[in-house]
Subunit: 780 residues, 2 copies
């Protein structure tokens, strides 16, 4: 690819970015779009809808930039949680690494590369027509002594990256421990994680500690027990009760059996829709009301009928006749109630929640899983860590997720079902990888213009136009790839959700990993080894030749990846600001439906989409740093954009729904280590290709040392991200003993892990109640 | 190799075996050899030295065979522990597998192989001159339908082996749990591990349970804590005390700091030797006494000097002058004592143990490790399972070994020292593997007679003699290999001992693994891929072609491995009976020293030598089962020999010194799975070599299913071998609460984990005390 093609792409994308910025700063000020651009501020009540019109609203402004810039990490920690901090830390980590790499790359490596004559001499007179290859390591002459500069820079960047990684890890570790640590312990923590003190004000850190330590959280006291063996006569609940009262009589608090609620959930959804329809009916003129009332009546009948079916099933499953009889009575009452609901047009009616609850708890199937709560954090953690039963496949313990983080549908599937879906997910991932080859091949064809002309001879005339060919080679390929990549995160999230994780955050973490490796395999390796999946697999089955093969093909793709950074990095990050899809949705609803009284839904940031993207650019940067340092300025621009834009979005748009409390960091850590080792492998190959076998041999200790460093970090930091140490738990428990509010907390704890489908539902026809969430389960 | 060569080898080895049997049954009856052949019975006082001579003693008898045969598993469990049961179970497991395999192999596969004509037709007239290859799968014609019989037999043996493996695992699991389970729980256990009941009498199992459950064991109540951070002012002991009294005030019992005692240990050894010399001096005539007394005096002086040196070091390490002063006084006293010891010729003197103890505890360096004891098993286990400190590299917890199982020298090395020795062990293992190539290459040369003639032309005339050439090709190669292999287990044990394990049993387990994989790599793969280490590594770096390469070379080595089974298996197992090396040692001491009053040392069986051997024959059998079924009868004879001989040795010779409580079983399990997968890989290669690609493809699900089975077993059985479940621990603890002897046990527990080097030493010149162990530490 020529320099001019890259510049075309840069030009187009820069223009797009500027456009997005301008659009954002105008649209943001329009009250009509508040729920798109500042939903979080709206929901928190920090911003009011000003409907007065003034001219200022139409002039682009940059007032939001300093605001985003000034946001301190402690503010972010308290408002968006540790996950947001991990995400921003990842970006700043990359910024620091590539600032350092950029200085070496641009001021040392680039001149060296240009001085070579292996490919062709650089044409300073007409820079545009130079091939990008003259700026890469390919241009260095064979056996040149200049390669030792590349060699040293590989060592330098590895050491710098590892140092930074260690620092960031220790800071995040201390944050994570702070999340439940008591105030007085902060001094102790600082001695354990040196480096965290220097850059943060001691007082401000205390404030965070105070924030986190202020209240006990239900999931700290609870574990999830699975594969509970049912005792001969009794129910699963009896079996849990007897097991824990026998072995943990002093510490066991309560338990809640998880039930299969998928049927109930769908019924509730139906009821919710019916209710909405009903309200809609009320607000319409009376002549239409009469017409629709008939239809509506049919729906209610249908609902009643389905409910009776469900009851029938429940009755069949019950062996005791007496219970079945009472069920019939209850259902009859329920049907009566529905009739009443229908005849009175739904006004002023309240569904008797307690009755509802009692009805379902009697008749729903148990899942052999239960949330078991204990009186102290330490005891819950003890039970989680130890094998409970003689049979190691029974009474399996897991840490409980936060109550609003539980993924309830999972519990509805049976054990066999979960096993099969796990296998299905593996197959689906493989299929996705193979199918994804199609767009990649198309993209490959586009970068290779001459091949395209062979495939589609009729395009020849168009492609001879310089601008068109520049767009086709410089811009189109990465645009297509980008669009196809957009659909990967939702697919992966779906796949993870049927894989058997018990919490939303676990699903997201698993999806994040899937998307990450999918991206690396399908973008990096597929672009580098352009060929079939089988060809790529065959390369990895022949480990001896990987370095030489990588060294031969990686530098050649530098220009493609520069274009990719510019397109996928710059533009899609800038488009994040404008939130294109929510904007379109908002426009659509405005056109179709007049009512804007819907509750504001504050979105949470999809980490499984954004973390892999940042990490992939990190991988590109590290892998190409010494091969083609031209890529570094483009990456730096990307990371700067991401830094300012995501800080802004955390203030205005995204609010956390649940926390993994920093569990994304190990993914980041692993990928950085992988990137470094990949760079070393490429370096080994390059130096032997360039006839400098000594350098090639001297690189070998580097991956070994990097992996040893990784091993050390795993020992030092990973345990903190997995579970809390006994020391902290015991101290925190002791502090709570003197807390008067704890008994209230324990009272609530008993019902916290109730499935929302089984919670009392309150439908009130008062119009002001519409803005409240329909299910009261979220409030605890 | 020809049939006649194999038969020569079989003949020689059978003769040797018979010789060993006759020798054993005669020598065993001679009172002079009792300490060689029945040390255990002697030590237990079950057998008295009869010195009356009668003719019966010179006639070979078979009386010991039925005795060994009749030994029941429960007797073995109570007398030799679970490890012995695991070992015998491994042998019976192999016996069962190869009985089944033998029936299929000899009656179905062998006739099929002989019917082939691919290599050459079998010559029934002169069976001797047939090459062994006609009995292998190589003789089957390409694409023959008969190969489907081999295909089905591979499936059959895999299913049968996995079934047996499951059964044995469940039986051993239940044994392991029985080791601490209470009596009443046995019914419960039987329902969890079905199959254990059917073959064992319920009552007898109850007896075992009673035996095991009768007394609490110190290691169940204790954990080892390492990397204890020293607090600013205080000692490590203070830091342990304050940590555990703060966090576990109700359950913490006591602790013992581990100290560096290597110097003291060597001083004590010196003193022991001096003491022995002194006694010897006393028993000698007076004119020699005078002459040696001078020398002896010099030794005592030397001893005193070294002691002063040690004191000097201790003083240098101490910063407090006052302490140093008191040390000087103490050492002075000590030296005075030694002078006294010298002047009085050592008669009737008792080393003041308490003084000794106090002296060392003051001045020995702490190791930042401590044995911490708790009041219940459950609490010890809890602390072991949880991360204790905020810094995950501090307060590391491990399960404590049995007190007599602790490997004290380990604690004497520093952290850095341990790290370096770990690296050194890796390097040493690699070197050993490379150096071992030399004997293997020699052996390879011997089997290939024509090549030998090329190397050593002068041997040509000798090698033309049929008998010589048969010995050289049939017997010598495996004999040489066997001798070289004899030295591997001690080397590996030494390497494991410097690798940082805290107990003898862990060292043995690690050595067992090392020896096993060394054997597989250096015997199986080196013989099969005769070539350099680098060549072998290059094969495994090219995973695609492993099946075809294995299939090409493995069948060709069948005859070598048959000879190996006969030599290494039969003869060395039979020689185990005669105990050649102890016998020689006994003969030597009888010739040189007249005194036979030494205490009887009961040896423990070196599992790291014997388990890998049995497993390697298992691997050979499974790998060659469908390739060359001729090997199976030879293997069956080997396993029968091993079965009867080792049962006999467990009765008469070996007594357990420490227990791993069945932790060798996972090694056995893993190797059987590896053998099965190896067989599948070879099968894939063979069927494609034989132009039967369909069979080759249909084999593929088999390794996948085997690995899934393995995964299931890891979930189901492995946790039981790692740690005890909470259920059992709590029950057992509750039972102990009512036990009156527990307070006594706890009193003892406090000092159980004292380093023997720091225990009071009692030297008494009374001659009757000689048979008692010198160090009283073993008695607790």
């Amino acid at each position: 690819m020529l320099v001019s093609a890259i510049l075309t792409s840069v030009g187009i994308n820069s223009a797009l970015c500027v456009l997005f910025f301008v659009l954002y700063s105008i649209l943001k000020k329009q009250p009509g779009y508040y729920e798109v651009f500042i939903p979080r501020l709206l929901a928190e009540g920090n911003s009011k809808r000003r409907s007065r019109f003034n001219l200022e609203r139409l002039i682009p402004s940059t007032g939001w930039l300093p605001k985003a810039w000034k946001l301190s990490e402690e503010e972010m920690l308290s408002s968006s949680g540790l996950d947001a901090v991990v995400y921003m830390r990842t970006i700043t980590f990359c910024l620091k690494v590539f600032s350092f790499a950029g200085i070496i790359g641009i001021f040392i490596l680039l001149p060296v590369n240009c001085s070579g004559t292996e490919l062709h001499q650089i044409d300073f007179a007409d820079l545009y027509s130079n091939s990008l290859d003259v700026f890469t390591i390919s241009n260095i002459n064979l056996g040149s002594k200049w390669l030792w500069i590349h060699f040293s820079s590989v060592y330098a960047i590895t050491i710098f990256t590892c140092y930074l990684l260690y620092r960031v890890s220790s800071i995040l570790c201390s944050y994570r421990l702070l999340s439940i640590l008591i105030l007085a312990e902060f001094d102790h923590l600082q001695s354990l994680f040196p480096g965290t003190v220097t850059e943060y004000n001691y007082i401000s850190s205390k404030r965070i500690a105070y924030f986190y330590s202020s209240r006990p959280q239900p999931h700290q006291f609870t574990i999830l027990v699975r594969n509970i063996p049912a005792s001969a006569g009794g129910s699963v609940s009896d079996s849990v009760e007897s097991f824990f009262t026998e072995y943990y009589p002093t510490t066991y608090l309560s338990h809640i059996i998880v039930r299969r609620t998928s049927k109930v959930q769908s019924l509730i959804n139906d009821a919710k829709q019916l209710y909405k329809r009903l309200l809609h009916l009320q607000s319409e003129p009376s002549e239409q009301k009469c017409k629709q009332a008939g239809l509506f009546g049919q729906k209610v009948d249908h609902y009643g009928k389905r409910f009776e079916d469900l009851e029938q099933n429940a009755r069949l499953e019950q062996s005791e006749v007496s219970l079945a009889k009472s069920t019939i009575t209850e259902t009859y009452q329920y049907t009566i109630f529905l009739k009443y609901f229908k005849s009175h047009g739904g006004s002023n009616c309240t569904l008797n929640g307690m009755f509802h609850n009692k009805f379902f708890t009697h008749h729903l199937q148990d899942t052999h899983a239960a949330f078991v709560s204990f009186k102290t954090r330490y005891d819950a953690s003890t039970v989680f860590h130890m094998q409970q039963s003689i049979n190691p496949t029974h009474w399996l313990t897991e840490e409980a997720p936060q109550p609003n983080d539980v993924f309830w549908p999972f519990f509805s599937s049976s054990f066999m079902g979960r096993w099969i879906s796990k296998l299905a997910v593996v197959v689906a991932c493989i299929l996705l990888t193979i199918l994804f080859l199609i767009p990649v091949v198309v993209v490959q064809g586009l970068t290779n213009l001459s091949q395209l002309e062979v495939w589609f001879p009729f395009l020849k005339s168009i492609l001879t136009i310089a601008f068109v060919s520049q767009i086709v080679t410089g811009y189109l390929p990465s645009l297509i790839l980008m669009l196809f990549l957009k659909i990967v995160p939702p697919i992966m999230e779906f796949l993870s959700s049927i894989q058997g994780y018990i919490s939303h955050s676990e699903i997201e973490r698993s999806a994040c990993n899937k998307v990450l490796w999918f991206t690396i395999w399908n973008i990096f390796f597929a672009t580098v080894f352009s060929g079939s999946v089988l060809y790529r697999i065959s390369i990895f089955l022949d480990p001896k030749n990987i370095p030489s093969k990588l060294a031969a093909v990686v530098p050649a793709q530098a220009s493609f990846f520069i274009a990719y950074v510019v397109t996928s990095g710059w533009t899609s990050t800038a488009s994040e600001l404008v939130r294109i899809i929510p904007l379109i949705c908002s426009l659509m609803t405005k056109c179709c439906a007049a009512s804007t009284d819907d509750e504001i839904e504050v979105p949470s940031i999809p980490y499984h989409r954004d973390i892999p993207r940042v990490l992939f650019f990190g991988l590109l940067g590290i892998a190409y740093f010494f091969l083609a340092p031209v890529i570094l300025p483009f990456l730096l621009v990307y990371f700067c954009l991401a830094y300012i834009i995501f800080r802004n979005q955390f203030i205005n748009v995204y609010a956390p729904k649940y926390e993994t409390a920093g569990k994304f960091w190990p993914i980041v850590h692993n990928l950085v280590i992988f990137s470094l080792v990949l760079m070393h492998v490429i370096a080994v190959g390059i130096f032997s290709l360039k006839k400098l076998p000594l350098a090639s041999t001297l690189i070998l200790p580097l991956p070994v040392l990097t992996l040893l460093f990784n091993e050390y970090c795993r020992k030092r930091f990973l345990p903190v991200f997995k579970a809390y140490p006994a020391e902290i738990l015991i101290k925190k428990d002791r502090e709570d003993q003197n807390d008067a509010t704890m008994s209230e907390f324990f009272d609530k704890l008993v019902t916290t892990y109730q499935d929302p489908a089984l919670m009392p539902i309150q439908y009130c026809a008062d119009s002001d109640s519409l803005n409240r969430p329909l299910l009261s389960s979220a409030e605890m």
